[in-house]
Symmetry: C2
Subunit: 427 residues, 2 copies
């Protein structure tokens, strides 16, 4: 009998027949990811660690070098008995991923090279609710064009552009179905950007919480946790879920909508028009309403959010009863909803982002108490609650990462340079 | 630009290097599943439809025939131009899958051959709450041994045994953490059966709703719907979720616990000791309490459930106001919870099983009204609600299917028969 029976995943009939080209692509990706995850090393060591044979590794590395995804540098003398080998490392310069975040009052762009180094970063202040969709998309297209040009200066071509939007995004066709905080409904962001942009790479549009979850998965403190639930607290509350190492998308890319589940106060009307949505008790507005009177600067949306949250934290630290009471109340309600997510998804980690992360130290105690009492599995079903440390650029980082990941999945997406008769490399 | 950008799944780094043995196994499985899904056909047609070349298909079919998973029968003359080929078909006789269901008052066993035909079926009445875990496992082991013997009579060896339990099952190690309806806590079902059974195949222990979801996925009216939520209404309420064609398991196999999410009446105490669990408003007890007084035969747990549900349906059809009111109330509450699941998972289909299916025609109207108002995505985010038609043997069918699926995934799990010197096939 087998100690650990292979778990059924019901997906077997979807596999394509394996052929030599598929095997080659798989192994090119394997070597490239191995270098990313474990750092520069010799061909011999790659062979030893991946189980591929040495001749295969040499041929794979040669192809990756032709595509300018790796280069071979100094000689490896560490512990070598035979002929010393050259160290192969990721060459991040020729390809980049572009992440864009479209939020209430700004558009942010970040360009990462294949090694994850920042090539370009820009934040444009923009009043999106007043601008409207068409002018906003014009601005986004200009911002992306600027980023592409900046990357081209150092020789990097985009492998993809990923746009994060806080709202209900039908990622299969890139339509923002509903984004109450910017007043959008059924905006075809993907088509709008395609018609405005002259780039030869995939463009994706994605819910911001999904990209935040991916950023955590790729580069957060709990990176590579295969079962992970991410909750971000802002005006609204968003959720992104990683299931068995994959982003949960659902049939139309509309999954993870936790903010409007009926876990709130049935007497309170939400921004979406419904009653009892969870974000009416755990969103930023709910906290600030409970913590301060109308007219209090922490409730002034015209002021900088980070400053207002710092003031809330200051009051809590000073022992202000009203502030502490409001935080306890939000912490408990956060626990009620997080317990539902733990019961449904059985994650290893629940990550809290947005204002939940900033004020997390005051939310944690009531939150954990509620989880202990509401989660069915013993010991909170093995879940830990962790505050995100990625901060406010996480969405664009997640977006850039998604764009780059396609190259790590299939390095042949990056074309081999065409040589002109004089032997110079064409652009 | 690509019309449909490949969706990021974050799982790339887990892939093993592809080698010839892997390719062979993949392609053996591909041919076997092709025959299962599309019926008997010639080698030439398999080659044409799968994209594998003809010589490869011939060699794969020869190996599958040696493992006695396929056989070649009559000549294919349909539309053939060249030499007519023999028709290859699944030969289900040598391998079987065993599904077991362990419920409050019975143990059921079902054996399916590779073609999905029933080889053996038995239901043993058993008062599990009074028997206790050890004696119950003795009885389960006897039932499985009987099934294995029955399969052996026709020459079939088990590819696996899957045991369904209504409760919180940690499928990674086969421990039933909590099963309130049979009074179990931390029962090591997998270890208990391994020590009692003399079978040389994997044994799995699984939450019953997970197996019901798999049964629907494999053989229900909505088979192969990649994003599917299954809800079963019994004494408790269980959930099984298929995400992108895979069963959602979570970190410890504890996912899908919908019954105890806090979507119920906070004043009602649940069987688990908590307040406000969803099953306190949508479980069978909630319906019957609302529909009939204490002492009414429909509330008598000693009577057959199907008879009691038929009586409830009769009263509803006769226009009994109290019964109709109870059904409306349950339908609405079912909608509240189903809306949460649709918001989180964005499934294509929500399948209702157990008593929800039997009385579904009376629940549907209030349920859909609640979904329309609570689901954030327009048009219920594209989800349909469907009543299961698999009936009461679905859990054992799902279990047997899981066991067989491992063979379709990797046909080399079935050994090639060893020939003795006289040329006869050893057992």
């Amino acid at each position: 009998m087998t100690e650990e029976a292979p778990l059924y995943d019901g997906s077997s009939e979807r596999r394509a027949p394996a052929d030599q080209a598929t095997v080659r692509r798989t192994n090119l990706g394997l070597v490239l990811r191995h270098l990313r995850d474990h750092g520069p090393r010799s061909r011999a060591r790659i062979a030893q660690e991946t189980g591929l044979n040495k001749a295969t590794v040499s041929s794979l590395v040669a192809e990756l070098a032709e595509r300018r995804l790796v280069s071979a540098g100094e000689v490896d003398r560490a512990g070598s008995v035979g002929r010393p080998g050259l160290i192969v490392h990721l060459d991040g310069r020729c390809v980049c991923g572009i992440g864009v975040e479209l939020n209430v009052d700004y558009v942010a762009v970040l360009v990462l090279d294949l090694r994850g180094e920042v090539l370009f970063e820009r934040r444009h202040a923009l009043d999106i609710p007043s601008l409207g969709a068409e002018e906003t998309l014009d601005a986004v297209a200009r911002a992306v064009t600027e980023a592409v040009a900046a990357a081209a200066v150092v020789g990097a071509r985009p492998a993809g552009v990923t746009v994060a939007v806080a709202g209900l995004v039908r990622s299969v066709d890139g339509v923002v179905t509903l984004a109450p905080n910017i007043g959008w409904r059924d905006v075809a962001v993907l088509d709008g950007l395609r018609s405005r942009l002259d780039v030869d790479c995939p463009i994706r549009v994605e819910n911001d919480a999904n990209l935040l979850a991916i950023a955590e998965w790729a580069m957060g403190s709990e990176a590579r946790t295969p079962d992970l639930v991410y909750l971000t607290g802002e005006v609204g509350v968003g959720g992104g879920v990683i299931v068995a190492g994959r982003l949960l998308r659902g049939a139309g890319g509309l999954s993870g909508e936790v903010g409007h589940t009926s876990l709130g106060d049935p007497d309170v009307v939400c921004g979406c028009g419904r009653r009892g949505c969870w974000e009416t008790v755990v969103g930023l507005a709910a906290l600030l309403r409970a913590a301060a009177d109308h007219g209090d600067p922490v409730r002034d949306p015209g002021r900088d959010l980070e400053t207002r949250l710092a003031e809330v934290a200051r009051r809590a630290e000073a022992g202000d009863e009203r502030t502490l009471g409001a935080l306890r109340q939000v912490g408990t309600s956060l626990g009620t909803g997080a317990a539902v997510l733990i019961n449904l998804f059985n994650p290893r980690v629940v990550l809290l982002g947005g204002y939940f992360a900033v004020l997390g130290r005051f939310l944690m105690e009531p939150l954990l108490a509620e989880l202990e009492s509401r989660v069915l599995g013993p010991g909170m079903a093995g879940a830990r609650v962790v505050l995100s440390r990625l901060g406010f650029t996480a969405a664009v980082r997640g977006g850039a990462h998604v764009a780059l990941e396609s190259v790590f999945d299939d390095p042949t997406l990056v074309p081999e340079p065409v040589l002109d008769p004089a032997g110079a490399t064409a652009p």
